[in-house]
C-alpha cells in the first residue's frame, strides 16, 4: 500500500526527469547534500515537511500540487493542468514554469516495441522484467515513463475546474506507485560506497550543461557542517590576524606554525558526542613499525604513477594528441572520508573481507590487463604477496565487482571495527570553511585549512611533531584513499570516453578529449582544475 511518502518520491523523480535534473542539481536547489537526496529518493531516509516546502519552492509548485501524486504534479509543472492553489507569493511567480523545451527525458523506456507490459510499480509500459514481473528497474525509469506517456495525452482534456477531481482520480489510477524498492539504488551508491562529493557523478556522459541551471541556492547548506567548528577556525584566523596587525604574511606564518595543535584540537572537538571512542595510542603492529628511522614500513599504499604506454608509443611515432592536465582539488581533504579502524588492530585469518571492519591486509593481488587503465595498485613491479590498506583493498574489490579483474586473495588481516564517519565532522568543517574562503577570495584561510588537513594526514603516524595521536594505520589508509579516489576519477574519465594518458601523485590526471563532459570545472572538492594543455607527439 503506497503511502504519501512513496508518492512524493515518485513525484520528485518525475519532476527531476522532466527538468533533466540530476541529484546534485536538486541538492543545490534544496541546500542539502547529494547523498541525502539520494537516500531520500531511494527510501532510506524520510522527506520532512520542511523538505516538501523546499521542493515546492524549487519546482515552483504549491505544496498541495506536489503531494497530489506524480501525474498531477507533473501536469501542473508543465502547465498542462491547472494548479489546485496558486503558488504562494514568496516563491517566484508561476508564470514561468519549468522551461518548455524538453531536455530529452530518457525515451528508451518506450523505444523497444516488443512485448511491452505495464510496470507493476507505475502502470506504464515497461521493457524489463524481474522475476516474471514487468517493471522498471529504478524509480527514475518509472518517472520517465510517466513523463513520456503524459506528454501526448496531455492536451486533450480541457477540463473545467468542477470536474477536475473526478478526472484526477481517474488519471491517478494507472499509477499506484508501489514503493520503488530500495534495492535498485542509483548506480553510484552501489558501485563505490562513497556517494559523496569526491566521486558522485558516476553516470559519466550525462550532458550536464544541457540541463537548465538550477536556481541559485539562497540558503547555503544548513547542517552540512558544524557551525561551532567552523567558527573555531574562523575565530582563530581573525585572532591571529588581529595579533599581527593585519599583516597577512606574518599572520599566515603564525597560523601554519600552529596548524598541527589546532587541527588536533579541532578533531577532538569534532569527536565530542561521537558514537565511537577511538584509540589514539594503540600498540603498533609489527608491520606498521618503521624498519629504520628514515625507512618505510611494509604497507603498500598504491601511489599511482602510470603512463599510457601504447598511447605514448603512438605519439612517438608521430601521432599528435592534445592532452589536458587536470588537478584534483584538496585530494587529502576528500580522503579523510574513508573507513578507519576505531580500536586496536587484531589479527584475522579467515580470508574474508568484512565490510564492517577496516585495517591492513596481506593479499595476493589479481592480474591486471588493461593497457588503457592504470592498475589500482599503483606502479608495483614485484609480484607476490603484499600488505595493502583497507582503502586499496576496497578499490580492488570494486574492480572485481566491475569485472575489471579478479578479486584479490586475502591471506591475513589486521583489522578493527570501522567507521567511515570518524573524521567526517572535521572534514565537513574544513571543507565548508575552505569553500567559503574560496568564494570570498580569502587566501589566508585557504592556506590555513590546507596546512591543517595536510599536516594532519602526515603527522598522525609516528611523528614527533604530533604526539596527540599515534595511528600509522590511519595515515596509510587516508593516503591510500586519496590514491584510490584518483584512480576512480581515471576510471570515470575512461568510462566517459576520454583517454587517460597519465595519473601521478595524489592529484594529477592527464586526459585526451573533452573532459568537461565528465568533470565540472572549479575549485570545489567534487570539481577539477585545469592545470595545463599540451601537445603530445607530432614532430618536435
Amino acid at each position: 500500500m503506497p503511502g504519501i511518502e512513496d508518492d512524493l518520491r515518485v513525484t520528485v523523480a518525475a519532476l527531476m526527469a522532466n527538468r533533466g535534473e540530476r541529484q546534485t542539481d536538486l541538492a543545490v536547489g534544496l541546500g542539502q547534500a547529494q547523498a541525502q537526496i539520494s537516500r531520500k529518493l531511494t527510501g532510506r531516509a524520510h522527506w520532512s515537511l520542511e523538505d516538501v516546502d523546499l521542493l515546492a519552492a524549487h519546482y515552483r509548485l504549491h505544496t498541495l500540487d506536489l503531494l497530489a501524486g506524480p501525474t498531477h504534479a507533473l501536469g501542473v509543472a508543465r502547465g498542462d493542468l491547472p494548479a489546485l492553489k496558486p503558488v504562494s507569493p514568496w516563491t517566484t511567480t508561476p508564470a514561468a514554469p519549468a522551461p518548455a523545451p524538453e531536455p530529452a527525458p530518457p525515451e528508451p523506456a518506450q523505444a523497444p516495441p516488443v512485448p511491452v507490459e505495464p510496470c507493476v510499480l507505475c502502470g506504464q509500459p515497461a521493457p524489463d522484467e524481474v522475476d516474471g514481473f514487468p517493471q522498471h528497474l529504478t524509480a527514475e525509469d518509472c518517472a520517465a515513463a510517466i513523463a513520456a506517456t503524459r506528454r501526448p495525452t496531455v492536451h486533450t482534456p480541457q477540463d473545467t475546474a468542477l470536474d477536475r477531481p473526478s478526472t484526477l482520480t481517474a488519471r491517478e489510477q494507472p499509477a499506484p506507485t508501489a514503493p520503488p524498492t530500495p534495492a535498485p539504488a542509483p548506480a553510484d551508491t552501489t558501485l563505490d560506497d562513497e556517494p559523496t562529493d569526491t566521486d558522485q557523478q558516476q553516470s559519466a556522459p550525462a550532458p550536464a550543461p544541457a540541463s537548465p541551471p538550477p536556481p541559485p541556492s539562497h540558503r547555503g547548506t544548513p547542517h552540512y557542517a558544524s557551525g561551532t567548528l567552523i567558527e573555531q577556525i574562523t575565530d582563530r584566523v581573525r585572532d591571529v590576524l588581529a595579533e599581527h596587525g593585519g599583516d597577512l604574511e606574518t599572520a599566515q606564518a603564525a597560523l601554519l606554525k600552529t596548524a598541527i595543535p589546532d587541527v588536533m584540537t579541532l578533531m577532538r572537538a569534532s569527536r565530542v558526542g561521537g558514537r565511537y571512542e577511538h584509540s589514539e595510542f594503540p600498540p603498533t603492529a609489527e608491520i606498521l613499525r618503521k624498519k629504520s628511522q628514515k625507512g618505510a614500513d611494509e604497507i603498500w599504499e598504491g601511489r599511482p604513477k602510470w603512463r599510457n604506454t601504447p598511447l605514448l608509443k603512438a605519439a612517438r611515432q608521430g601521432e599528435r594528441f592534445e592532452v589536458t592536465a587536470l588537478d584534483m582539488n584538496a585530494a587529502y581533504l576528500s580522503a579523510l572520508k574513508c573507513h578507519l579502524p576505531i580500536g586496536q588492530l587484531r589479527e584475522d585469518t579467515t580470508g574474508v573481507h568484512d565490510p564492517k571492519k577496516a585495517g591492513v591486509h596481506l593479499i595476493t593481488p589479481p592480474a591486471w590487463d588493461h593497457p588503457d587503465l592504470p592498475n589500482p595498485l599503483g606502479n608495483r613491479m614485484e609480484p607476490g604477496e603484499l600488505w595493502v590498506t583497507e582503502s586499496t583493498l576496497r578499490l580492488l574489490l570494486d574492480c572485481a565487482r566491475k569485472d575489471l579483474s579478479d578479486a584479490p586473495v586475502i591471506h591475513r588481516s589486521l583489522v578493527s571495527g570501522a567507521s567511515e564517519a570518524l573524521l567526517e565532522k572535521l572534514r565537513r568543517a574544513l571543507t565548508e570553511t575552505r569553500k567559503t574562503a574560496l568564494a570570498e577570495g580569502d587566501e589566508l584561510t585557504v592556506a590555513y585549512v590546507k596546512a591543517m588537513y595536510s599536516k594532519f594526514v602526515s603527522t598522525i603516524g609516528e611523528s614527533s611533531a604530533n604526539r596527540e595521536i599515534r595511528r600509522p594505520d590511519w595515515m596509510h589508509l587516508i593516503r591510500a584513499k586519496a590514491f584510490a579516489n584518483l584512480w576512480m576519477k581515471a576510471h570515470k574519465a575512461r568510462t566517459a570516453g576520454l583517454k587517460v594518458v597519465e595519473i601521478s601523485g595524489t592529484d594529477e590526471l592527464h586526459v585526451i578529449g573533452d573532459w568537461r563532459t565528465a568533470f565540472t570545472e572549479g575549485r570545489d572538492l567534487n570539481q577539477v582544475k585545469q592545470k595545463d594543455v599540451y601537445t603530445l607527439g607530432g614532430e618536435r
Binding site: E280, Q344, S464, I469
Partner: protein
C-alpha cells in the same frame, strides 16, 4: 561485566586461559623508552649527517668516556673528533657510536630533568591510554569485556622517571599499581595489559 568479578584478582593466574599481555610496569618502561628514542637525532648513523651529529654530541669528557666504555681506543676517538665530518668509521664502529649516543642521551634527559618536565607538562600531566590484555585466544566463556581506558595521569612522573633511571622494576610496578587504582573497582584487571600509550 561478564564472568566473576575477581576472575583475575589473583595476579599470576591471569594467563590460565591464554590471555596475552605484559606487566603494566613493563609497558610503562617500554613507553618511556619509546619517548626517549623518538626524540634526538633522527638521521641514522649510517649517513654522514647522522654520524657528524652524534660525534658532535659525544664530544665531551662524558661522551668520550662512554665511547671508551664501548671499547673504542682513545686514539681512534681522538682521530674521529678531530675531523668529525671526514671520518668514515666501519659499520661496527658506527654501531658503537650509535649505542654510546643513546646511552649519553638517556643519561642527559634524566640528568637535565627534561623528561620529567616533558611528562609532567606543567602539572597538567599526560593522557594515558591503557589497552587491556589480548583475549583473542581466550575461550569465550572465560572472556571478560575489558575496554581500553584513558586517564590523565599526574604527580607520578618524577618518581617514575627516577625508578626507570635506576632500572628499579619493582618500583615501577608499584607506581603502576598507583596508576590503575584510579580506575575503579575493576582495576586489577589492568594489572597486566597489552600496551600503554602516552600523548608525549
Amino acid at each position: 561485566m561478564a564472568g566473576s568479578p575477581d576472575l583475575w584478582s589473583r595476579w599470576g593466574q591471569w594467563q590460565k586461559s591464554d590471555a596475552a599481555g605484559i606487566k603494566g610496569g613493563e609497558a610503562l618502561i617500554r613507553e618511556l623508552n619509546r619517548i626517549v628514542h623518538t626524540s634526538g637525532i633522527t638521521s641514522p648513523v649510517t649517513t654522514r649527517r647522522g654520524l657528524t651529529a652524534r660525534l658532535r654530541y659525544l664530544d665531551s669528557p662524558a661522551g668520550r668516556a662512554e665511547l671508551a666504555a664501548q671499547g673504542i681506543s682513545p686514539r681512534t676517538i681522538r682521530t674521529w673528533m678531530k675531523a668529525k665530518n671526514k671520518t668514515s668509521p666501519t659499520p661496527a664502529s658506527r654501531e658503537k657510536i650509535d649505542t654510546a649516543y643513546w646511552h649519553r642521551r638517556r643519561e642527559n634527559l634524566i640528568r637535565s630533568g627534561w623528561l620529567v618536565k616533558h611528562l609532567d607538562n606543567d602539572g597538567r600531566g599526560r593522557r594515558m591510554e591503557i589497552h587491556p590484555v589480548d583475549q583473542t585466544r581466550v575461550e569465550s566463556k572465560y572472556r571478560r569485556d575489558l575496554n581500553s581506558r584513558t586517564i590523565t595521569v599526574r604527580y607520578i612522573w618524577s618518581d617514575l622517571v627516577t625508578a626507570w633511571a635506576n632500572k628499579n622494576a619493582n618500583m615501577v610496578d608499584e607506581i603502576w599499581d598507583d596508576v590503575i587504582s584510579d580506575l575503579d573497582s575493576d582495576y586489577n584487571a589492568y594489572a597486566y595489559v597489552s600496551s600503554v600509550g602516552f600523548n608525549a
